[in-house]
């Protein structure tokens, strides 16, 4: 193998490492419910989208082209974040106890400005005065944009595994 090929591979590894570090950092902010800090990672042209999964006889991985849970712009996502500062946002009083596991990180494309990345997300949730717990499992497709030493999230699509949700609501960000 030529040295130049090794250099390309090294660069890809470095990009992938940067992306993994960023996604882990983001997960930590969300688990700590540092929502305003998390919102600082959101680009002003964000598209934050979680379609409704369909269930069809012969086809796997089908999502509704009309129905969704989230289809947020910067302003509406900001409103959702700010809502949790209200003392009346009962869904998160007390906050859901979560741990996010970000795996299967694959950089699918990148240039000097943006990185397209896919990852799997498993979120453990525990709520209220109870031993009960639940999970969200999803694939995410993100576009991250370089922002100084870090990234901002310019596009996120969350492809949830469940068609029928088993939680009271979705009051966390995925």
């Amino acid at each position: 193998m030529k040295l130049s090929d090794r250099e390309d591979e090294l660069e890809e590894l470095l990009v992938e490492r940067e992306v993994r570090q960023f996604l882990n950092h983001e997960a930590e902010l969300l688990d700590a419910r540092e929502l305003n800090e998390w919102f600082g990672l959101i680009a002003e042209d964000i598209s934050y989208y979680m379609p409704r999964r369909s269930m069809r006889e012969n086809t796997a991985g089908v999502f509704s082209d009309k129905s969704y849970y989230f289809d947020e712009s910067y302003g509406s996502l900001k409103a959702r974040v700010m809502r949790f500062d209200s003392e009346y946002a009962w869904a998160e009083r007390p906050p859901t106890r979560t741990e996010r596991y970000v795996t299967n990180v694959v950089v699918t494309d990148y240039d000097d400005e943006e990185v397209d990345v896919e990852s799997n997300l498993l979120v453990y949730l525990s709520r209220g005065d109870s031993e009960d717990h639940d999970f969200y499992s999803a694939k995410r497709e993100d576009t991250l944009r370089r922002d100084g030493d870090s990234f901002e999230i310019a596009d996120r699509t969350i492809l949830l595994n469940q068609t029928i949700l088993s939680t009271d609501n979705v009051s966390i960000f995925l």
Binding site: M50, S67, Y69, S76, D168, N169
Partner: protein, 467 residues
């Protein structure tokens, strides 16, 4: 299983409930009781009209969707002739379910067990090796079972597993007047967007039924976050009994609606002018219905026993964006004494421009459904009622919940004699008569009586006519 012990326990609970209901109370334990759940499934859901879906969900021949009445699985399907069917999803040979996916399109349903095949109108089409193996079997008698009663009103399809239930028209009665305002306001009517949101929550179905039967009192507290962020107007979400809006609580044929609006103003639920100008001709409505629609800011409604709707104006997903309306219909399906599945659909005017339909669906998801800024906070509340109701304390300490708001010794509550619509219209929203009306119907049906026994003059209106 309905055992003698179950019946004895349930009858005792029901007798105590009767006494409580006469006082405007409701025993806490009724929100989680194993014996009562069995009775509800048998006597209430087994005897009522239950919402199945909207005709626009299955527009083409062969379109189908799985639906449920209680625990019973059905296939909601449009056949090749365009007729809508509700088929019990169970092969007539061994009982296997023949529909596996949630939604789709098919000309036939095929049993995976022995290959019996049914047309999408339920007729048995193919029985493998019939000429050798089932020579005398009459194919016509072995189609998928149809639900005994299936009727629709303005696109809303309801079914009953009781052959003898009065017609849907009779069940809805004059309440159609209020449904019409929601469904016929835009020329061409309303249609469903995509597929419903579905989620299973650990709460008794009667908690949400209460909420949709006129709980105007809860909005400012349970949804204070929406007010704080200015995502919903003060008159839409703010405290009941305050503000400038004209509020009505209406009881009509056992169903209810809560209306907020402004007198002599063109409100139209904050539909934008271009929609009002282009789509609201009013041709399908009477002059009185038109005036109610014109002045209305929001409607909340419930059809007994487990269908509700919200048609709201003056909300937004972003305080920097214009307000817009949303329209959602929903069903709460009891799964057990402490569990239900919520089904929630977003609707839009069928003939509206695509961009407006998208905006209206966005308003729906921002406010309701599992991610809604309103509904996120409702569900944990309903769950906590159910949890408190399920233990020994509720059962032994005679804990009675208070639904007396609006009764004569609690508050001044007048009927609006000038109200143009049918039913009983209170000129206030600080009253809980809609919930009491729901409880009365619940009681009569679970006790094995006629639902009609619960209807008539509200218990807190002294007109000299006995209830």
């Amino acid at each position: 299983m309905m055992t003698d012990n179950t019946m004895a326990g349930a009858e005792q609970v029901l007798q105590e409930a009767r006494e409580a209901l006469d006082e405007g109370l409701f025993p806490l334990q009724l929100f989680q009781d194993d014996d009562l759940h069995d009775l509800e499934v048998q006597r209430l859901f087994g005897q009522s009209w239950v919402f199945i879906g909207h005709e626009s969900e299955i527009p083409e021949p062969g379109d189908y969707a799985r639906r449920y009445i209680g625990d019973d699985p059905f296939i909601f399907v449009r056949d090749e002739s365009g007729e809508i069917n509700l088929l019990f999803d169970s092969c007539r040979h061994r009982g296997t379910q023949v529909c596996r996916a949630e939604q789709g399109n098919t000309s036939h349903f095929r049993c995976p067990y022995h290959g019996w095949t049914y047309k999408n109108n339920g007729e048995a089409a193919g029985i493998p090796q019939k000429t050798k193996a089932f020579q005398e079997l009459d194919r016509e008698e072995h189609g998928l079972a149809h639900v005994p009663r299936l009727e629709s009103y303005e696109g809303l399809v309801f079914a009953s597993i009781n052959e003898d239930v009065p017609s849907l028209e009779e069940w809805l009665g004059d309440y159609k007047w209020y449904l019409d305002i929601q469904l016929k306001l835009p020329d061409g009517g309303m249609e469903v967007v995509g597929e419903p949101h579905r989620w299973v929550i650990d709460a008794n179905w009667k908690t949400i039924a209460d909420n949709f039967n006129g709980d105007s009192y809860h909005t400012a507290w349970a949804h204070g976050s929406v007010v704080d962020l200015e995502l919903g107007g003060e008159e839409t979400v703010g405290h009941a009994g305050t503000g400038e809006s004209i509020d009505h609580h209406i009881h009509c044929n056992g169903h209810t609606t809560s209306i907020r609006g402004f007198e002599d103003e063109d409100v139209f639920l904050t539909y934008p002018d271009e929609i009002v100008d282009e789509l609201f001709s009013g041709e399908e409505l009477s002059e009185e219905q038109w005036q109610v629609a014109r002045q209305a800011l929001s409607f909340t409604g419930a059809i007994f026993p487990n269908f509700g709707f919200l048609h709201f104006g003056d909300t937004t997903d972003d305080p920097n964006k214009d307000v817009a309306p949303f329209f959602t219909i929903r069903k709460w399906r009891p799964i057990g004494p402490d569990q239900m599945e919520l089904w929630s659909w977003g609707l839009v005017p069928k003939n509206a421009p695509e961009s407006f339909k998208e905006r209206m669906y966005k308003m729906y998801t921002s406010n309701f459904g599992p991610t809604g800024n309103f509904e996120q906070d409702d569900v944990p509340i309903w769950k906590s009622i159910t949890e408190a109701a399920g233990g020994e304390f509720a059962r032994t300490q005679d804990l009675q919940l208070n639904y007396q708001m609006g009764m004569e010794w609690m508050s001044e509550m007048e009927l609006d004699e000038d109200w143009a619509g049918p039913g009983f219209a209170y000129s206030e929203n600080l009253e809980e008569g809609g919930m009491r009306l729901f409880h009365e119907q619940w009681y009569e049906m679970v006790a094995g009586n006629d639902r009609e026994d619960a209807l008539g003059m509200p218990m807190n209106v002294d007109t000299g006519v006995s209830r």
